[in-house]
């Protein structure tokens, strides 16, 4: 593979992310889009990856549940300050969240892996074997 210019790679990634902004891929179901945390869904080969930004949320305050092809992300983000501090700026918000999304594909619930690093949660969702597209040889 040819070496990619890292700067071009960023802007093409940003363009690709823009192009799929709130696409109707996830629109089915009452959960829809718009809740916290904001998430991005990617296809990686046959499988899917959900990525969400959850800065300042400890792993222990994060709950991930999978049922059928629904994913639930719930938790609490706490933002605290020392007692005697005077606040100059306050932009970070704390609170609780509970979001469920239903994927339009069948996933293998037992194979789901969750990873949380540097404030980014990644859920690896293997596509169920029976849902994978099969290629039909043309005789």
């Amino acid at each position: 593979m040819a070496l990619m210019d890292p700067f071009d790679a960023l802007s093409s990634l940003q363009q690709a992310l823009d192009a799929f902004r709130a696409s109707d891929w996830l629109a089915a179901g009452p959960s829809g889009g718009g809740g916290y945390p904001p998430l991005n869904v990617f296809r990686k080969g046959d499988d899917f990856v959900i990525v969400a930004e959850v800065p300042g949320i400890k792993k222990s305050d994060l709950e991930v549940q999978v049922k059928g092809n629904s994913i639930r992300l719930a938790g609490t983000k706490s933002v605290t300050y020392p007692d005697k501090a005077s606040l100059h700026r306050r932009e970070r918000l704390g609170g609780r969240f509970d979001r469920a999304v239903t994927l339009p594909v069948e996933i293998d619930a037992n194979g789901v892996k969750a990873e949380c690093r540097d404030g980014v949660l990644a859920l690896f969702l293997p596509r169920a074997e029976r849902d994978k597209p099969k290629s039909i040889p043309v005789a």
Binding site: W25, L26, V54, A85, R92, G94, V120
Partner: protein, 132 residues
């Protein structure tokens, strides 16, 4: 109670910089909290996806400049199908009013949140004046 509040989604704010960047790609402004105690100024910034090694903090002419770069090679081979936010490097600067002891600035990062502790220089610390 603030803790019971439902978290709302906010769109990321794009950085509007005085100088134009020579490289394409958007930068974002990290959400920040700033608070002051008797002996230090603390700046807390949210930079999800930024690793420790990709953060730079510089203080020059009383301007604190923080940059966090994300490693987007992690997105290789991933095809977006549905997106709600964009990713990019983070940058933000602050003009500091109080005198800071530059040598003692310390930085910590945990769960994508950068905490900078800027100890005040001795003469900037409040002194209690006894009333005779």
């Amino acid at each position: 109670m603030a803790e019971k509040q439902e978290l709302a989604v906010r769109d990321k704010k794009e950085l509007v910089s005085k100088e134009e960047k020579t490289v394409p790609g958007r930068h974002y402004v990290p959400y920040a909290d700033i608070y002051e105690t008797d002996d230090a100024l603390t700046v807390v910034m949210e930079m999800p996806g930024v690793e420790k090694k990709d953060i730079s903090v510089a203080l020059e002419n009383d301007v604190l400049r923080v940059e966090g770069r994300i490693d987007f090679t992690k997105y290789e081979g991933m095809e977006p199908v549905y997106t709600e936010y964009n990713v990019g490097h983070y940058a933000r600067s602050f003009a500091l009013s109080s005198k800071i002891d530059q040598d003692k600035i310390s930085a910590q990062i945990a769960d994508g949140v950068l905490t900078l502790t800027l100890p005040k220089a001795k003469q900037a610390q409040p002194r209690r004046i006894a009333i005779g």
